[in-house]
């Protein structure tokens, strides 16, 4: 499977959402996982295979922002990803190797990227966030007989 196809305008924080407010360090759209740069403290697109730092996802952007604009992200709770994304109920979603992407767990089987949990798909096109950057590299799945 591929990364979730997220329509930014359909991303809505749930009533149980927990937020973090920061400043964007690059162009970010709603629904993209972001990390906080330890040097400039700005929020930037998370990426599972760029570096340990970029895989350290902090939350999901809740609106669009360009560099130096304020950005609110959701760090826990339920988030509506929208009908276009349609996360599968009960499926574990992880940070993608595409910057700002969210991918189902089976897409990480090739290995080589940092393993960062995003959350679990739930009803009504939502994800229950459980963001956990393990800091560990996923081993390649052994397909030999």
């Amino acid at each position: 499977m591929a990364d979730l196809s997220i329509t930014a305008s359909q991303v809505i924080a749930g009533s149980d959402a927990i937020f973090f407010d920061g400043v964007a360090g690059a162009t970010v759209t709603a629904g993209q996982p972001v990390y906080q740069d330890s040097v400039d403290t700005l929020l930037k697109l998370a990426d599972a295979n760029l570096s340990l730092a970029t895989a350290n996802a902090k939350g999901i952007a809740l609106h669009g922002a360009s560099a130096s604009q304020p950005l609110r992200i959701q760090v826990a709770g339920t988030i509506t990803m929208g009908a276009a994304a349609a996360p599968v109920v009960g499926k574990l979603y992880k940070l993608s190797i595409t910057a700002g992407g969210i991918t189902p767990i089976e897409d990480t089987s090739a290995g080589g990227q940092y393993d960062t949990n995003i959350g679990v798909g739930a009803a009504l096109n939502t994800i229950k966030l459980d963001i956990f950057p393990s800091g560990q590299i996923v081993p390649a799945f052994d397909t030999s007989p």
């Binding site: 305008s9 991303v11 759209t29 709603a30 609106h63 360009s66 609110r72």
Partner: protein, 135 residues
Amino acid sequence: MAEISQTPASVIPGSDAIYARGIAGGTVTAGAPVYLDETTQRYLVADANASLSTAEVKGIALGAASAGQPLRIQVAGTITIGGTVVLSTIYILGAAGGIAPASDLASGWFTTILGVATSATQLRLCIFASRALKA
């Protein structure tokens, strides 16, 4: 003069910015003046000639948001407005989310002052919704 042409990605709050926070009621882009819908309590793009309520500007949007998404606005202080302005000129709310020089005030507009240009790229916000309708 005409309303200023804005690039949303270039809209940046100054270090003296004062903020308010809320939820967007429709699509809003950075740099747009917004008002607070009294019924839904959500921010919408302001408009000088739609109604008295749409001219009651609360601040300038600092990011992009769709309906139901969080939105931070700047209510005072200096803002890089994302377009070219003329030093010392007073800027007012224009039509449909625009920002216009005061000389553009037209019949049928509620006069809402946004601020004064302090450079070719910045406004010092002084938002004042007069509720006065230009005859």
